[in-house]
Symmetry: C2
Subunit: 311 residues, 2 copies
């Protein structure tokens, strides 16, 4: 019997700085209803789905940014989303800025089952950007200022008759992200992102290049680990800062099976057969037959670039 | 001052089983002369450049296959290639089946400087295929029968004013290959391949899919490590067994800057500016700022797939 997960990649159009959580949650609920109508049983929303992409704003006093963070999940504003998911029997994943009871800040995603229970949490590992205001950039990208690197690693959960893992935005550019999950047998990686349309340090790198790198990274991760990848954008112009969009679903062969062509709220629904992962996992990417970990040591020994080993 | 390596990706058309080394070396020399005319200072030939792709032939007695291997490099048949390279001041890399003095068999590539001295040797890590005759396959792929996995790891050498590493064929599908070299600062990865046009275990996967996976793997490896990748095919029909071709050069941004459109002997020449690797290495793939090796441990702890870690 095929193991089908009908996933809805639920792109959010821009969220302006002034828009409140209740308004965003209402938009997310409308997308969930649309996803349900289209037969989905699992909906995936972007990174930082509840707010604008606030790391573009510099604030000297970090504590003044805490209003962008969620101290409880669900909280008063997000409870209606959980209620709706439970009512529809819809599993979900979304990202938000997390403030822990002991004062830590993470860029977080959760996995919620169809009863509304949070069964998995992932905290973003690869924070891009910088800590201090950078006058050289066309726009700021202060994730390293407002977040700590995640402390969860890349777990994979038994979820919806399969094995599901999470990543967030810049994580998708790092092959280690997919491989750590691949070594747990992952069959579907879900990830959200907020990617500016222009490289803040190289203006010539515009939206087509940015979309190219995004697709390349998701497709390679899918193929090289024989997994579905569901990548969901926050898109469009947030207070004049343009995010590129490019919500897409990649099959375990590395092929894009669907991509949203717009920058608005919208769902891309696809029935993903988890058994399509089997061929790759049993042949060319049968890790136990082909991997040679004795030659991979630098990957976990070195953080940065070191001396070349050839002599 | 720009650090330009003008590389010639020297594709070989098919080598029939009956063709001898001297004849192949003469073809390689013609390509080297063409490369020189086009301004190249470094020529890269395919995997197993001297012979047909013999792992397609099953032989119960392995020793009977030793005639495909080189016991000396250079040897009598290959000395003219080294002589020509020295005469032209051309650095080179090519692959061959290596038989060591103590009886080991490797799928090997070498890096030869412009004086004809071998300064680097790489032995293929990721051997595809199988050990025993497999009646289920449309064609045999017996690399695991005739070769041992390489014992060199993935060194990077100071070469031609830059940092150069090697890989062979199936290695290019494994992100670990590029990352181990990336952690040594690699600026150009050269690799040769012999890739059948059809998947021997899934006939529906034909040449377009095979070229897609090839390009995807080379482009992702280049982008994610900010390195040039030079991938060189043996192409066309060897005694009725078709190899896909697809010789290409990828820039450190992941873009294909040139690809040979045919399956014959031919060179693709491109001036590769090694300084184009700097932007990626200093920004989004500045490993020392962004990598989190504490979360990569499974990559070197597990060979194959193990239990999922989510709970």
């Amino acid at each position: 019997m095929a193991r089908i997960v009908t996933v809805a990649a639920a792109q959010l159009g821009p969220i302006q700085k002034a828009e409140n959580r209740a308004s965003v949650v209402a938009r997310m609920i409308r997308l969930m209803e649309e996803a349900k109508t289209k037969g989905a049983n699992f909906i995936v929303y972007p990174e930082m789905a509840l707010t604008t992409f606030f790391p573009r704003f510099y604030e000297e006093d970090r504590a003044k940014m805490d209003h962008w963070f969620e101290a409880a999940m669900p909280g008063p504003d997000t409870q209606p989303l959980f209620d709706k998911a439970k009512a529809l029997g819809m599993a979900m994943s979304f990202g938000y800025a997390e403030l822990t009871p002991d004062g830590h800040h993470f860029n977080t995603s959760i996995l919620v089952d169809k009863t509304g229970a949070i069964i998995g949490k992932y905290r973003k590992t690869h924070l891009p950007g910088h800590v201090e205001f950078d006058p050289e950039r066309t726009h700021q990208h202060l994730e390293k200022r407002y977040f700590e690197p995640g402390d969860t690693g890349f777990p994979v959960w038994r979820f919806l008759d399969g094995l599901v893992g999470m990543a967030i935005c810049n994580d998708r550019r790092w092959p280690e992200t997919y491989r750590v999950m691949g070594l747990q047998g992952v069959e579907m990686v879900v990830l959200g992102f907020n990617t500016p349309s222009v490289n803040s340090q190289r203006g010539a790198e515009g939206i087509e290049d940015r979309l190219f790198h995004h697709r390349l990274s998701c497709q390679a991760g899918a193929y090289q680990n024989a997994t579905w990848v569901v990548a969901v954008a926050k898109a469009g112009s947030e207070d004049g800062n343009h995010l590129m969009g490019g919500t897409l679903i990649v099959d375990p062969n590395g092929k894009i099976v669907g991509e949203l062509p717009h920058e608005e709220d919208g769902v891309l629904v696809h029935p993903c057969d988890l058994d399509e992962t089997v061929f790759g996992k049993e042949t060319i990417f049968d890790f136990k037959r082909h991997r040679r970990i004795e030659h991979y040591k630098l990957i976990t020994e070195r953080v940065g670039v070191g001396e070349p080993l050839g002599r």
